[in-house]
Symmetry: C2
Subunit: 188 residues, 2 copies
């Protein structure tokens, strides 16, 4: 990716994911085929880079993830909202999603799955624990290996799914850092 | 709770939680002592009411949750943002948080843990699977038994933690329901 991109350690993933943005999950299977899916069911599990996401069994992306143990989480800005929804409403079995939606794949450092260059941030991930995949519909624990943040995108607002096809973009900014007396270490 | 409150089945919890709002978790231990904690690490796991949250071991709330297997997730509006942050920066061992922060406890139907009357929504939860609590810092799976939505709060915006003590309230509303061709069943 280009020079202005900031590289952060994986344990900083909470800085780009805790707020619950709608995300893209990017994979590349062993045959080299890339895919994208849209995910609203995800969380940060720890400040040490443990994440969780639901990647539904049977999806093309889930097969690639199971095969390689690797993915990239992309955090799109609201300028990509329509594309992100459309990505979640077609299948990687039928469509090359990077090509169809005019997105470009960047090289990650720790995983073969591609970065999504048009995203505000990308998190390189490896599968940490897949023991819950079967019982909980694709719930997988991931480890964030590295975070990339692109400060040069014109649109900085992420967007959040209300569960019904409506979304809210980020609005009013609240700085309550001074009140977070027990959590200062996570502000740097 | 008052008459205008809407009651939804637990499997609708994604409608109030998928967007990643900062939440309160309310508990009542067997001795009758209530507590509140603030949580940013949570997710929806399924459209059947499975949720996940990190409730840190050692916290007063975690002990109550472990003892009773019950909690309520409250979704506060941004009018409560300062209180919600302060609730996350003191301990239930030292403070009666409902009293300290001027919040009122309502009666739930399925659990002994109290609703937080000042929240936009409350989700009554029972512990579904605590097998990951030890390995993943308090990661617990919950089952949503019932959802309460209060349409009469003057402030409807939720708020989202950026991981560093700053937050964004809900902003621009996007209606992309027509593009969600594969997910119509979740729009009603």
């Amino acid at each position: 990716m280009v020079e202005s991109i900031k590289r952060l350690p994986g344990d900083k993933a909470y800085r780009v994911l805790e707020s619950g943005p709608t995300i893209l999950v990017s994979t590349r299977n062993k045959a080299g085929r890339t895919d994208l899916m849209t995910v609203g069911f995800h969380m940060v599990v720890s400040h040490e880079g443990v994440l969780a996401a639901v990647i539904s069994p049977g999806d093309f992306s889930q097969r690639s993830l199971a095969e390689t143990g690797e993915c990239v989480i992309g955090v799109p800005g609201v300028d990509l909202a329509e594309k992100v929804v459309d990505i979640g409403n077609c299948s990687g079995y039928d469509v090359d999603k990077f090509e169809r939606f005019g997105l470009t794949a960047g090289d990650a450092e720790h995983v073969a799955a591609p970065l999504v260059n048009e995203c505000l941030a990308n998190v390189e991930c490896t599968v940490l624990d897949d023991s819950m995949v079967r019982d909980y519909g694709g719930l997988v624990l991931l480890h964030a290996e590295q975070v990339w943040v692109n400060p040069r995108r014109p649109e900085h607002r992420t967007f959040h799914h209300n569960g019904d096809g409506t979304f809210n973009a980020d609005g009013e900014f609240l700085d309550l850092r001074e009140r977070m007396v027990l959590w200062k270490e996570y502000q740097t």
